[in-house]
Symmetry: C2
């Protein structure tokens, strides 16, 4: 999982649409990619996911709403779209898309094979939550943006998981964003 | 504002009660205060709020549910409880409590006077949100805990604010928690 998230937990602003694929105000989340792109640590953190990614799993919503804006994907890797619809494989500028109808485990398994020794990247909140619930997530990269958006798409919502403990393996600050990296240990915590 | 918050945005687990004042699993949020208490940076960060605090504003829920567990408050300062009920001033082990019936601005003003040249600390999610909406918050201290609680009391929920930009003025990691400090600039962001 790799997301830029506001301090109040949103990865997109309110009213996501084709005109505003990141919701109203959501584009401010990603300023670190542009303002900080020539400076460390933002520059190397921005490159990291692109260098590590070998395949991508995304949802139909991201595919239909997020990508047409650029007619492309930010991750130029073999991409697997989780959907209930039957569709034909399709190509964009820099990646080919395969549609997967039989669930998150199948999508991740297919992506795992395509990625070789690189990582599988999860795009979209819904797909990421499904993978987290299924115990398929190894690492969570969060770029924590110094914003309160007040509404929008929450990354961690309706998780319906038992308590999960993470290990924070990196915390690096820039003027634009705080780069956090967590390993998912999946160790359940006791309630009391 | 000063809170320990899970990565998924909760400052208490589900089912807060007098038996579980931090909700189920919520006590894991504060492990950094105990496990890290002898080590830097947790030790100095833990002392910081106690040293800086000159008065506290809290809500009736925190007063009725959070404090009886210890028969005390974590902040031994003059404390102002925001409530619609008429009550008499009251003393606990290490602080005196005054009940304020005429809104958040009045409570913060009274606390401001009592605090002298020290800070006013906001306790409780509801009081903090009211203060944030009223433009009364100068700084937000977050101890970001490497947990996904999956449910409970959200710190930033129903904020109903326009977008607020913060300046991250500190990000310090320990093995137990990431210490973040933000200034509230209250600068509104544009939607598009």
């Amino acid at each position: 999982m790799a997301f830029t998230m506001s301090l109040d937990g949103f990865i997109a602003g309110p009213n996501v649409s084709k005109a505003y694929p990141l919701g109203e105000g959501g584009q401010h989340l990603h300023e670190w990619l542009f303002k900080g792109s020539a400076e460390e640590p933002d520059a190397s953190m921005g490159r990291e996911m692109f260098d590590r990614g070998g395949a991508t799993v995304l949802g139909k919503r991201t595919y239909d709403v997020g990508l047409p804006h650029w007619n492309d994907t930010p991750y130029p890797t073999p991409s697997f779209v989780l959907t209930h619809e039957g569709r034909e494989p399709q190509a964009m500028k820099s990646a080919s898309f395969v549609f997967v109808n039989d669930g998150i485990e199948s999508a991740v398994t297919q992506a795992r094979e395509a990625a070789g020794d690189k990582d599988v990247i999860l795009m979209g909140a819904s797909v990421s939550k499904q993978a987290l619930k299924a115990g398929l997530v190894d690492e969570i990269f969060i770029q924590l943006s110094p914003l309160l958006l007040g509404g929008g798409t929450r990354l961690f919502d309706d998780l319906d998981v038992h308590r999960i403990r993470l290990d924070c393996t990196r915390a690096v600050a820039s003027p634009y964003v705080t780069h956090l990296r967590y390993s998912v240990t999946n160790r359940r915590l006791t309630a009391a």
